[in-house]
């Protein structure tokens, strides 16, 4: 069994490595100091299990787990934490594997043996119980060769085609695997749906203008990114878009 170790603190990673090196049935394959590196490294090393610290700067443990889940054949996850009563309650309630720091050898092997994959819905309920942000701060895009994490703050628009969702962001556009429906639910705080297949960042909308044929269209602050045709507001969503723009 290949194990990837993720923790922002070097001594904590070293400790897990020491313990794993003593075990015959588990193989330490690498370590990452933050969530982003963890996602990239996991795609490359294909570990069976990821030991994942909950409290990390940038991508926290729960969000990292979300992104790990989106990989083909995702790894099982065991969380590690020093002390986080809400998260621990949430893990206990859902039988999610975790180990407490300082890590005890017997506890670690028991958790590794029971490690299982986590459904996204489980992660969302854990995040809300643990007072962590439920919405991800990044979305993840994959091509054959590379894996990209796009900060949600840099995204102006999600647009759904037949099969994929395209993300328009500050440094270009990418395809992601998420369904628009799930994105609507997850990012409802900062994004508004303008028609059946497009979701626009409220903060990026400059104004609403009338087209020559009497329709309404969203004008983005940064106009270059999205086709004007794509930004026509459907009649069903117009009232909601107006309301969100007023910030009510």
């Amino acid at each position: 069994m290949k194990v990837l170790v993720v923790d922002d603190e070097q001594p904590a990673r070293a400790r897990l490595r020491q313990l794993l090196d003593d075990e015959e049935s588990y193989e330490y394959v690498g370590e990452a100091g933050n969530g982003k590196d963890a996602v990239l490294l996991s795609a490359e090393l294909r570990p069976d299990i990821v030991l994942l610290d909950i409290r990390m700067p940038g991508l926290d443990g729960i969000e990292t787990a979300h992104h790990l889940n989106m990989q083909d054949n995702p790894p099982a996850i065991v969380f590690t934490t020093a002390y986080d009563e809400y998260a621990i309650d949430a893990f206990d309630a859902r039988a999610i594997g975790y180990v407490l720091k300082p890590v005890r050898r017997a506890k670690l092997t028991a958790a590794l043996e029971q490690a299982s994959r986590l459904a996204p819905s489980t992660l969302i309920s854990v995040a809300s119980q643990a007072n962590m942000s439920v919405a991800r701060k990044h979305v993840c895009s994959r091509s054959q060769t590379e894996l990209k994490l796009i900060p949600v703050t840099e995204i102006s628009c999600f647009r759904a085609d037949q099969k994929y969702v395209t993300v328009y962001h500050d440094s270009g556009q990418d395809l992601i695997d998420d369904s628009l429906r799930a994105l609507v639910d997850e990012f409802s705080d900062d994004f508004v749906r303008i028609h059946r297949s497009a979701l626009v960042a409220v903060a990026r909308i400059d104004r609403i203008e009338k087209t020559d044929d009497g329709k309404s269209r969203v004008v983005l602050r940064d106009k270059s990114q999205v086709d004007d045709e794509e930004l026509i507001i459907s009649r069903r969503h117009l009232a909601e878009v107006r309301r969100r723009l007023k910030g009510v």
């Binding site: 603190e9 904590a12 020491q18 933050n34 700067p57 940038g58 002390y83 720091k101 300082p102």
Partner: protein, 355 residues
């Protein structure tokens, strides 16, 4: 008392006694009778009229006392909500008015039903005399209530400070992470593991000391430095602390466990949340007979801040500062922009040091 333990809700502490309680009523009747006896003793002209005069005076004084008590019983919750000074001023006004009404009624009744032993003066003179006596008695009563309420308040504050001191104890998060670091170092770097255990022990010892006491600035800064050393093992290059405290007299007294918890806050809510870490600055300045210590840390931008734990640590230090310095000390927070800054200002007290 339960409400008084809530730091955000200090105003709910009672300034006035419970006028609706039977025990309060009993004391008021007793005091009213004593005043009646006093007044009669002072004014009666012939032996044989004493009891009659006393009964009339009692009758009059009791009316004022009981009517006043009944009014206060109804008004207490409203007056308490107005704050201490206003509560006292308004009670005073209410009771003066009660007295005026009773005196006026007594005068009118006497006019209708004939003479009385205690009402001989002209109308205005009688009213003024009654009001003057009432004012003096009320002033004494208010002073007494004020002192006893201050006394209760100081007891509550002291209790809060004790609780706060317990809460100031090191976060479990820090303790377990440190233990984990030490467990890791025992194999890779036994010497540093040893140092870390020594540092952790010193820190725990400082935390287990009587935290309601004051200690010297020197001790406080040492405790904070030890704390920094332990965190540095764990966070590595991400943690930098700049100490700029040369201007502070090291013998100065300060409530113990103030700087270390603030440094802990700065790390827990700031440095730990930043992927590349940052620099905490601790700056001390002297301004005449006041000292100011400012602790500032970078915070992640644009993230919803979870300030729950932070608030507790801050209100805790506020309470202990209030107990130690009253209005002479202050704790200010500035969380605008990408830094979180706490400033402690307190009078210089170089007390006889044991060192």
């Amino acid at each position: 008392m339960i409400a008084a333990n809530d730091p955000d809700n200090e105003s709910t502490q009672a300034y006035l006694p419970d006028f609706c309680a039977a025990s309060t009523l009993f004391i008021i009747v007793l005091v009213a009778e004593l005043i009646a006896i006093m007044l009669t003793l002072a004014s009666h002209d012939a032996e044989h009229q004493f009891l009659i005069e006393l009964s009339e005076t009692s009758f009059f004084v009791l009316w004022i006392a009981l009517l006043g008590t009944a009014l206060m019983c109804q008004l207490t919750s409203y007056l308490e909500a107005a704050g201490q000074t206003r509560a006292f001023v308004m009670s005073f006004v209410v009771l003066e008015l009660t007295c005026l009404v009773v005196a006026e009624s007594a005068w009118q009744l006497t006019r209708i039903f004939g003479q009385s032993l205690i009402i001989e003066d002209a109308h205005t003179k009688f009213l003024l005399r009654t009001m003057a006596i009432n004012s003096i008695v009320m002033a004494l009563a208010m002073r007494y209530l004020y002192i006893s309420s201050e006394w209760r308040r100081s007891i509550v504050l002291e209790a809060q400070a004790r609780i706060s001191a317990l809460q100031a104890l090191i976060r479990p998060h820090f303790l377990f992470n440190s233990m984990n670091t030490i467990a890791s170092l025992t194999r890779t770097d036994p010497r540093r593991a040893e140092e870390a255990i020594e540092d952790l022990s010193d820190l725990l010892r400082a935390n287990l000391g009587n935290a309601t006491n004051r200690s010297s600035l020197k001790q406080e800064l040492e405790t904070a430095a030890i704390y920094q050393r332990i965190e540095k093992l764990r966070l590595g290059d991400r943690l930098n602390v700049r100490w700029d405290v040369a201007a502070l007299p090291m013998r100065a007294r300060i409530p113990s466990l103030t700087i270390q918890p603030l440094l802990e806050n700065a790390i827990y809510h700031g440095i730990e949340l930043l992927p590349d870490g940052g620099e905490v600055t601790v700056t001390g300045t002297r301004d005449g007979d006041h000292l100011e210590i400012t602790i500032s840390n970078p915070v992640p931008i644009g993230e919803k801040r979870n300030t729950g734990g932070n608030k507790m640590a801050m209100s805790n230090i506020r309470q202990r500062f209030e107990l130690a310095y009253g209005s002479k000390g202050s704790v200010n927070i500035d969380d605008a922009g990408d830094r979180f800054t706490v400033s402690l200002r307190f009078p210089l007290d170089e007390g006889e040091d044991e060192e």
